[in-house]
Amino acid sequence: MTDKKDNLVEARGLTFHFGSRVIFNGIDLDLQRGKVTAIMGPSGTGKTTLLRLIGGQIRPTAGTIHVDGHEVPRLSRRELFELRKRMGMLFQSGALLTDLSVFDNVAFPLREHTALPETMVRDLVLMKLEAVGLRGAQRLMPSELSGGMARRVALARAIALDPMMIMYDEPFTGQDPISMGVLVKLIRDLNEVLGLTSIIVSHDVAEASQIADYIYVLSQGVVVGQGTPDELHQSESEWVRQFMQGMPDGPVPFHYPAGDYAEELLSPGEGR
């Protein structure tokens, strides 16, 4: 199924409710093949939920999501697993298997999904680790890695099966400037070299603007802004400007909604 603009991921009217909370309310997304697309927004806007929807771990309340022409929520478990073999996902924590070494972690998807001989698995793993600069760390256990290294190992694991796309969940959070720089470079380079499509969920404006071809800004369940990084920086929308420039108060209020302040101080309290 070829779409007009060759989109790898397409969401139409995507709606998702978590209990009575509305996480997404009819959003449309087009993620172009071969590009790096960033999904940005304040914490708690359901950015990670979006990745889970794309990966089929949860089903939308309404609307459709197509990945490479397949409507994800309608796939059977078997078809979904087939599709996931072509998707890589980088979790915020890395999600490395703690009882396996770095080498075995990267080898994990290869051993699970292919019948390659061990010598070839070894070569592939070494190549992936070399690509993220951690070939020397192959014998370490995940507990011996720094946060940045763990994420790079997870990245090597995510590309082990040469997927068509990679989803990054908050890849820059909690990284020192050097590992941040390394990750920014890796994400961009891998996208070019391997011909991937990358989706980055992030609230780190500077880093995401640096590598993204296109950015969606989400807030309160809707897309409030979209465009190339330059377009967004000059956006007319006050909201988008507040977000991109990190101002503490604006359309997004500093205060969580609450009753009248003076009244609450004077009231006797509920006394739990």
Partner: protein, 259 residues
């Protein structure tokens, strides 16, 4: 009214959970055959679930047997029946204490470890990560642990009973002077293979299924936070222990009730 609402809500939650637990069990059983080509996974788990529980089982079995020997002797000697000590020790162990105490220890040692391990894997997104790598955690993580638990339990219970008998022998024959020949020959003639030993084995198989099921389900269903995992671990030990004791009564009534 609120109390009633709460009561109803709690009941519904409990039944929902029970339903989830059963669906989970079916999914795990359906995933179990996929272990056949990958016995290595099972062997690893047999080691950590079974072999690593051996020390506590052997030590506990020895002491339980020794206490049985001591108490049994003191009672039997009043009737001049201390030569039946072997029978008493063996029957107590094979019918009841072996399966039950071994299962309780197993719940505390291996069950809690299983829950904590799976719960932490969930909390650290390892299970989710596997799913995104198109690997089913039920097959890769839960099934080997479940099968290992079910296979280990009867063996551990048998070892518990065997060591317990030795404990009773040391105390009864070694320390208190019961006649060695009578100790063994009475045991041999009075302990029936079908009636006593097999019923004990059946008990321990049932306990193995229930304890391991509770342990892996609690881990898989745990709230993925440190508090959630700690609560799940506690629940495993409490529920598994109660289930073992309750089921033991039911099984005993079914097996020996009409005699």
């Amino acid at each position: 009214m609120n109390t009633f609402q709460q009561l109803g809500h709690n009941a519904l939650t409990a039944f929902q959970r029970l339903g989830r637990a059963h669906l989970f069990l079916f999914a795990v059983l359906a995933g179990a055959p996929s272990l056949l080509p990958r016995l290595r996974l099972l062997i690893q788990q047999l080691f950590s679930v079974g072999v690593l529980s051996l020390v506590i089982i052997v030590v506990a079995g020895l002491f339980v047997g020794m206490v049985l020997g001591l108490q049994g002797y003191n009672t039997l000697v009043d009737f001049g029946a201390e030569e039946s000590l072997g029978v008493m020790v063996a029957l107590s162990l094979v019918r009841e204490l072996g399966p039950v105490v071994a299962a309780l220890l197993f719940a505390g040692r291996a069950g809690s470890a299983l829950t904590a391990e799976i719960g932490l894997m969930k909390a650290t997104e390892q299970l989710s990560g596997m799913e995104m790598m198109a690997v089913d955690p039920l097959k890769r993580v839960v099934a080997p642990r479940f099968v290992a638990g079910v296979l280990s339990m009867p063996l551990l219970a048998a070892i518990f009973s065997a060591v317990g008998v030795m404990g009773g022998y040391f105390v009864g024959v070694g320390l208190l002077g019961v006649d060695e020949g009578a100790f063994w020959s009475q045991m041999q003639s009075r302990v029936d293979f079908d009636e006593d030993i097999m019923n004990g084995v059946i008990k321990s198989i049932v306990f193995g299924v229930v304890v391991t099921w509770i342990a892996v389900f609690e881990g898989y269903d745990a709230v993925p936070t440190s508090a959630g995992v700690s609560r799940a671990t506690t629940r495993t030990v409490v529920y598994a222990s109660l289930a073992v004791l309750g089921l033991d009564f039911v099984l005993t009534a079914l097996m020996f009730g009409e005699v």
